[in-house]
Amino acid sequence: MSGRVMEQEQRSAAAGAKTFPGSDSRAYNYFEPKGRRATHYEDVTVDVQPDPERYLLQNWIISFGDGTPTYSKEWTALKSSDWHLYRAPDQEWERTHYQRQSTICGMIKNVIDNARRAGAPRRFDKAWVKILQDHLGAFKHAEYGLGTALMRAQRYGYTQMVNNAILTNSSYKLRLAQDLTLYLGEIALDIEGFDVDAGKRNWLENSIWQKARELVESARGAEDFLEQYFIVNVLFEPLVGELFRSGFVMQVAATQNDYSSPVVISAAEADYERNLANTVELFATLVRDPAHGEDNRRLLQDWFDKYSPIATQAALDLQPIWSQPRVKSAQFAKSYASAINRLQAIVSEIGVFSTQIPMPELQVAEPVE
């Protein structure tokens, strides 16, 4: 047998050119797919971040100065019998992520370009312009803060599936923060006197936004990366994010002659549906864990108890914004009730608790500024 003989015999290196042991082993065979067959997402994601339980024969070979290994289960107080079971329901990998993000960028750019070309921003109601300037301008900082919190959090998960779900969440939040920034910067070119820096001032100083800022800073400040993830998707998003986006901007904008802001904002709602599905699946899996489920549930309850007062107050503090448009087409009470219902549905789905979240009393009649 010589190399040359083999070369003559064996011309094609294509699948099926020869049959020999292993010649038909054409699937990754080192993990259990969640379904009957591995999805593309699973193939390109599972076990890329190894650990001593799954194949790291030599364990982690570098540690931090204090002896902590490259990845540690101690980075969250939540426990799992098997961190490897989790799969992100959105099944995102690079190609689907770019396709989705790019589609959103294209949609937003087209709408803004066309709106500006048609002179639409100049026809926005004056009171509405101030709302966009002050409050949408403030809100972009919240999105940015959440994106940076998640950028930190994506370092700490014990598996690739957990970390990549948090990574794409961070990517979506940071894109939205920039979408809003650029959108406001562009309509400012068309609206005389529009102050692009007013949003940050409101974010830092306006009492309406201070509890929201406290909540975002809590997400950035939590040492436990899953506590960060919990604050972002279980509390901030339904009580503040969706409340402001869907419960206000998307309902009110059209009556202020503004058809572009809801489009920019709408992408975030679709982003959140995916990020929420990933979040609920992760926390629900941990609550159902046969060994640690009850401890996990209690910890999630503790996080809920710790942060939900801030989140609830953050939501309530936004109420005056609903009074500011000249044409009032949405009621805070209804939007807030939807937010509480949404929160209720999320925590029930996760299994944190099933009792009704109390609804604070609200002034039903909207005050007029």
Partner: protein, 554 residues
């Protein structure tokens, strides 16, 4: 003649300037006043200067650009199949992709994780967009490479080895080196790991050989997929190089950091050399069937990309900022490739343990010899007999080359780089915390004993990483029978007896080695054996080891 009317002229409207856009985006951050940011990433560096964003790109243009790049990649993969690429591809080449693509997705995703500390440690928010893009880029690289590997597995004649890829990555003796490479991106001092080792050394210097030189070789072997994917990957690296340089400029502004920078640039350059040149040098030189004498050898590529481009235009200018650069290390790295046969000796070591791999390595033959001799004069005298022996012993039932009477001495493994100590004359030992360790070179000894320690030149360095785990693969299987170790690693084909690794490229079942062919030999850890020796015997062993060996023809 009137000026032509274009659609662009009709539709264009004044937009926000790039400068204003980046100013507004950088202004998204704020100093928290209710709750301080979590700060869990340790560093011994002080950073006060805000790094600037050299790219000034925003996510709105980034995502469509990346999607377009992806479309080209996936379109090209489809075209390669339609063009029947695998009918003409060189199996010798694709086999090495089982190793390369087992390693590289982990360093990539580690780099994504590494953006967490950099994002937090960098003062201000100017570079956050750059770090964000890099984080998503690295997520791209990791999953696009897993996809490429899956594509090879589905379409190449021998999928065995691809099918166990991530499991193999965690267990193989050779991939240990890649794990060290990837873990070093995100463990220990955050600036050392994520800025200097990852961005300043790996991405700025060595991705050129990884992601540019290697794809060129792939194309010469009929593999159009690797260049398609990896040149697309490399196009993201310029962004990362920009991030790294900007962060470095912030770090070196503080004179107190200069000692640590000297340490980290030295460590990072040398360890990248040890890993990348071992792996990529071997794959480019020994995985190819193309022996065009007009193409550059790895040594020539190295001189162009690393010496001329990186050392002269990136490292040297750092001296004007007061950073001591270890010129001798750069020259020594080059000499190790050109004069000391580093790449050839790594290839020899990997082939000596072919049975422990999860890919095939075939013998080099006369056509290869001629090229090697032309590019590396004296090569045949030193390595010709090894490969002739290798081919003679490639038939199942032959003696395993590792244990044949060829004069080859199974190498020690370097405690720092985890690469076998193949340049015998540079081999050295030292004690750390009362324990004996082996090193491939003096810089490797320094890396373990001085750089990865709680103190550096009298300065406390509590954040610096430490070497940990069961670093030497040979220690784990010390005393094991070869066959049992192979089964334990799972490097056996689905029939339960045929090895995934083969020392040839025959796809005939009769030519394939099975567990029975390798049973009866015992793995020994050279380090454990050395530690058992008395001091005089140790010294004698080290002296003998440094003398090297001469391969006998069998």
């Amino acid at each position: 003649m009137t000026e032509a009317l274009t659609l662009n002229k009709i539709t264009s409207q004044k937009g926000i300037s790039i400068g204003e856009a980046t100013r507004l985006i950088a202004d998204l951050g704020w100093t928290p006043s209710y709750v301080q940011d979590a700060m869990a990433f340790p560093t011994d560096y002080k950073i006060s200067k805000t790094p600037r964003d050299p790219m000034k790109q925003v996510l709105r243009s980034y995502f469509p650009m990346q999607e377009e790049k992806d479309n080209r990649v996936y379109g090209a993969l489809d075209a390669a199949l339609r063009g029947d690429m695998f009918r003409n591809v060189e199996p010798r080449w694709i086999e090495w992709m089982k190793l390369f693509l087992a390693i590289i997705p982990f360093p990539e995703i580690s780099a994504a994780r590494a953006m967490a500390p950099l994002g937090q440690l960098a003062p201000g928010d100017h570079l956050r967009t750059g770090f964000t893009m890099q984080m998503v880029d690295e997520f791209r690289h990791s999953t696009i490479q897993m996809n490429l590997k899956k594509w090879y597995m589905e379409n190449y004649i021998d999928p065995a080895g691809f099918d166990i890829t991530e499991k193999a990555f965690g267990k193989c003796a050779a991939t240990t080196i890649g794990r060290q490479f990837g873990e070093a991106f995100l463990t220990g001092d955050a600036i050392t790991a994520s800025n200097i080792y990852l961005q300043v050394a790996a991405e700025t210097a060595f991705t050129n050989t990884l992601f540019v030189a290697m794809p060129s070789e792939a194309a010469r072997n009929g593999d159009y997929a690797l260049p398609t994917v990896f040149l697309s990957v490399q196009s993201d690296e310029s962004r990362h190089i920009g991030n790294g340089h900007s962060m470095l400029m912030s770090v070196l502004k503080e004179p107190d950091n200069h000692l640590l920078l000297e340490r980290d640039i030295r460590y990072s350059f040398w360890q990248n050399h040890m890993f990348v040149d071992a792996m990529i040098g071997t794959i480019i030189e020994y995985g190819t069937k193309n022996r065009d004498k007009n193409k550059e050898s790895y040594a020539e590529l190295w001189h162009r990309w690393i010496f001329e481009d990186y050392y002269r235009t990136y490292m040297l200018p750092l001296e004007k900022y007061g950073i001591k650069i270890h010129h001798d290390d750069v020259h020594e790295a080059f000499d190790s490739i050109v004069k000391k046969g580093y790449v050839h000796k790594v290839a020899q070591a990997i082939s000596a343990g072919w049975w422990a791999n999860f890919w095939r390595i075939e013998a080099q033959t006369e056509r290869d010899f001629e090229w090697f001799e032309a590019k590396y004069p004296g090569w045949y005298d030193e390595f010709g007999a090894w490969w002739e022996n290798y081919e003679k012993l490639s038939k199942p039932g032959s003696e395993i080359i590792t244990f044949a009477d060829t004069g080859y001495v199974y190498p020690h493994r370097c405690w720092s780089s985890l690469v076998p100590c193949v340049v015998r004359e540079d081999f050295c030992v030292d004690e750390v915390d009362g324990e004996l360790f082996t090193y491939a070179s003096e810089v490797d000894r320094w890396t373990h004993k001085e750089a990865f320690a709680a103190e550096y030149q009298g300065r406390p360095t509590p954040a610096m990483g430490r070497f940990s785990g069961r670093r030497q693969w040979e220690e784990i299987y010390d005393g094991w029978d070869l066959a049992d170790a192979i089964v334990d690693m799972g490097f056996v084909r689905p029939d339960g007896k045929t090895l995934i690794a083969q020392p040839h490229m025959s796809f005939e079942e009769k030519d394939m080695w099975t567990l029975d062919h390798v049973r009866g030999h015992t793995i020994r850890s050279p380090l454990l054996a050395l530690r058992e020796l008395k001091p005089e015997a140790r010294a004698k062993h080290v002296e003998d080891y440094r003398k090297g060996f001469k391969i006998r023809r069998i």
